[in-house]
Symmetry: C2
C-alpha cells in the first residue's frame, strides 16, 4: 500500500478532490488505496500550475491543458512521503465545478427501448437519430459526487397531482470531463484534445414525471433532482489501450462527424443493486463516439468550458443482461425503493474506472 | 448627470459589472448615464460584504441576500465622488457567472403559435402545458452580455446537411436572476426571496436546426450558440410598483403552484429591428408567474444556485404587433440577415429595464 511508484511505465493516476479531516477541498491523485495530495508534489514552480493545484476543484488544472496534466502525473510518479495518505482518511468531494452538463442519447438500443416504452405504436427511433448525436442540457447544480444520498423526488405524476415518484430509475452512463475551454466549432480530429478524462455517471430518473413533462421541450424535473458522478476522473491518456474502432454507421456520418480514426471506448460496466450485479452493459456498443458528441455539441459555435461534463446517455445492449436502466431490465415491474443501494462500476482495458454509488432515501 | 442622489425616496439602482480602461471586472451600480463603482462606496466593514464587492461577478453579493443588497443600495444613495464615472468610459461585461439557465415556455400565445408552426395538424398546445410551467435547461457557457456580436451558426438543417442557418430568429424574453442558493423545494410564497432581479433576454434561435433536432429531447444546437442578456440587472425590489394580479388560470393550479398573492410583472417590451420598433409584447399577459416557475423548478429537490438565470420564454400576445419572435411576426417570410441589429427594451412601471442588443455577423 505504501509501495513507491515507477513513473516510467505506469498509467496516469485518476484525479479528484478530497477533504482531509473536514478541511478545505484539496486536489489529489488516487494511487490504489492511497491518495497523493497534489499540493505536496514536486512540480515546476510555475505560478499558474501552483495556483491550479491550490484550487478547490480541478477546473483550473483542466484549463491549463496537457502539459500541466503530464507535469502533475510525472510528479506523482515520485511522490514525497508527505504527499501520501490513506484513502480511508479522506472524504472525496465533487472533483469539478460542472460548467455545463450535456446528456447524449448515444445508444441505439436504449433509444429503441425507450421509444417503445414512451411512444408505443410509433417508430421507436425517429428519423433524426441516425444523422446526429441527439442530446439535451441537464442541470449542473444538482450533480453530486458518488456516495451522496438520493432523496426520492416529488413531481407531477398525473396532471395537477404532485406526488413522490413511484417510478424511480437509474441510468448507467459514461461521462467525459471536458477542457481546456474552446470556442466552437471543434473539429472532430481535434476533439480528443478537449477530453480530459472519464467518469461513471448515474443519471437518476423519475419515469412518471418524465413521461408527463417531456413533450415538447425534453426531460426536465424527471432528471434534474440529482445526477451522480464518480469522485475520481480517469485521464483519457490512461485509456488508449481500451480504444476500439467505431462500428459502421448507416447512413455514413456527415463530414463534420467523420473522424480519421474513429474510436469508441471498450468499457465493461456493471450495475449492482443491493449487492448483486444485475446487468453488464458494454460501452463498445455505443453508436456515437465521444469525438462525434463533442464535434456536434460545438459545431454551432457554442463555447466549451473547462469543467463541462458530457455523458453518453444510458448504455444498453441487445443481449439479455445488458440493459442500462431498470425500465429496460424489469420492463416496468420493479423500480427503486427507499433504502435501495446502486453502484455502477467500470473497467476499460487495464484501467479501473472506479465506481459511482448512491442510496435512495425517503422523500 | 452628476446630480447627487437622494437615497430616501429613490428606487434601487440596477447592478452590473464593468471594466474601466480594460482593467479587471468591477461591480457597479448604474445611475442614469453614470456608474458607481461598488468598491468605492462606504459600506459596513464586513469581510463577507467586502469580498463580495471585490469579486469579478455579482454571484457572491447575490448569495449574501437582501441585507447585503440593501446595504449596497444605501451606500449608493450617498456616493463619494471617487465612486462615480461616466457610463461611456466603462465596458459592461456579463454581470453574473450563470450557474444554470432554465428557459420556460410561459406564454400561452407563443406556445400556441409554435405548436401550429412546428406540429401542424395536431393540437398546438399539449395537455401538460396548463398543468405546469414547462421548461428546459439551456447552455450557460454561451450566454453573452448585451452588445456581443452574434455569429450565424451552422447546424444540420436537413438530415446530414451541415449549413449556415437560413432561419435565424430572435426571442424576446424576461429573465430572472436567482439567489441566494437554496435546496429545493422552495415554497411558492417564499419564491420571491430568491428572485434577485430582472434582465431582458434574447434567446437567439435557428429554427431550421431546431425543427430537425428537437424531438424527443427538446431544443439543443438551435439555441445553444448564443443567448444575450442585459448588462444591468434591475433589482426586484425596484419593481414592486409594476406588479399586477395574475390572470385566472384554468384549470386552477396545483397547491404547490398556488400563491397567496400571485403576481405578474407588467413590463412593456419592444423589439427594435434595424432602428424600427416592430413589436411591443407585454409581460403582463404571461400565463405562468415567476414564483410558479421557481416553485416548479425546485419542487423535485433541485438545488438553486446564486447566479441561476430563469427566463420566461418568448413573450407573445394575441393582438397584432405583439409577437415575440420573427417566426410569429413575419410568418416565415423574413429571418435575420447578416448585419441586422436587434435591440430589446423594457419598461416596468417607473423602472426602465434597460436593453439587450446584438448584431448578426456572417458565420
Amino acid at each position: 500500500m505504501m509501495r513507491p511508484r515507477d513513473g516510467s511505465s505506469e498509467a496516469p493516476l485518476p484525479l479528484g478532490v478530497v477533504r482531509v479531516c473536514g478541511g478545505a477541498p484539496r486536489l489529489a491523485l488516487r494511487d490504489g488505496d492511497d491518495v497523493l495530495l497534489a499540493s505536496e508534489l514536486a512540480v515546476a514552480d510555475e505560478p499558474e500550475l501552483r495556483a491550479a493545484l491550490a484550487a478547490p476543484s480541478l477546473n483550473a488544472l483542466i484549463e491549463l491543458g496537457p502539459a500541466a496534466w503530464h507535469a502533475i502525473q510525472r510528479a506523482a510518479a515520485d511522490p514525497p512521503a508527505a504527499a501520501r495518505l490513506p484513502l480511508r482518511d479522506c472524504e472525496p468531494v465533487l472533483p469539478i465545478r460542472v460548467t455545463d452538463f450535456v446528456d447524449f442519447y448515444a445508444s441505439l438500443e436504449h433509444a429503441t427501448n425507450f421509444g417503445r416504452i414512451f411512444r408505443p405504436g410509433t417508430p421507436p427511433v425517429r428519423d433524426n437519430w441516425r444523422h446526429m448525436p441527439l442530446a439535451y442540457h441537464g442541470r449542473t447544480s444538482t450533480i453530486v459526487v458518488s456516495g451522496t444520498e438520493i432523496r426520492r423526488p416529488r413531481g407531477q405524476i398525473a396532471p395537477g397531482e404532485l406526488q413522490l415518484t413511484a417510478q424511480l430509475d437509474l441510468e448507467c452512463e459514461l461521462g467525459y470531463v471536458c477542457g481546456p475551454s474552446a470556442r466552437g466549432p471543434i473539429a472532430i480530429d481535434r476533439a480528443e484534445e478537449h477530453l480530459f478524462g472519464v467518469v461513471l455517471v448515474n443519471d437518476w430518473s423519475a419515469r412518471d414525471v418524465q413521461r408527463l413533462e417531456y413533450e415538447p421541450l425534453g426531460p426536465f424535473l424527471g432528471k434534474s433532482f440529482a445526477t451522480s458522478m464518480s469522485a475520481w476522473i480517469t485521464p483519457l491518456q490512461a485509456l488508449t489501450g481500451a480504444r476500439r474502432p467505431r462500428p459502421p454507421q448507416d447512413p455514413p456520418p456527415a463530414a463534420y462527424l467523420s473522424a480519421q480514426e474513429p474510436w469508441v471506448l471498450d468499457a465493461a460496466l456493471e450495475i449492482e443493486l443491493n449487492g448483486t450485479v444485475i446487468s453488464r452493459p458494454r460501452a463498445a456498443g455505443l453508436y456515437w463516439t465521444p469525438a462525434q458528441m463533442l464535434a456536434h455539441l460545438t459545431v454551432n459555435g457554442a463555447q466549451l468550458s473547462a469543467g463541462d461534463l458530457i455523458a453518453t446517455g444510458t448504455i444498453s445492449g441487445t443481449e439479455p443482461g445488458t440493459a442500462g436502466s431498470l425500465a429496460e431490465y424489469f420492463g416496468g415491474e420493479r423500480w427503486l425503493a427507499d433504502g435501495d443501494e446502486v453502484v455502477l462500476r467500470g473497467q476499460a482495458g487495464a484501467a479501473a474506472l472506479g465506481e459511482v454509488g448512491g442510496r435512495i432515501v425517503a422523500g
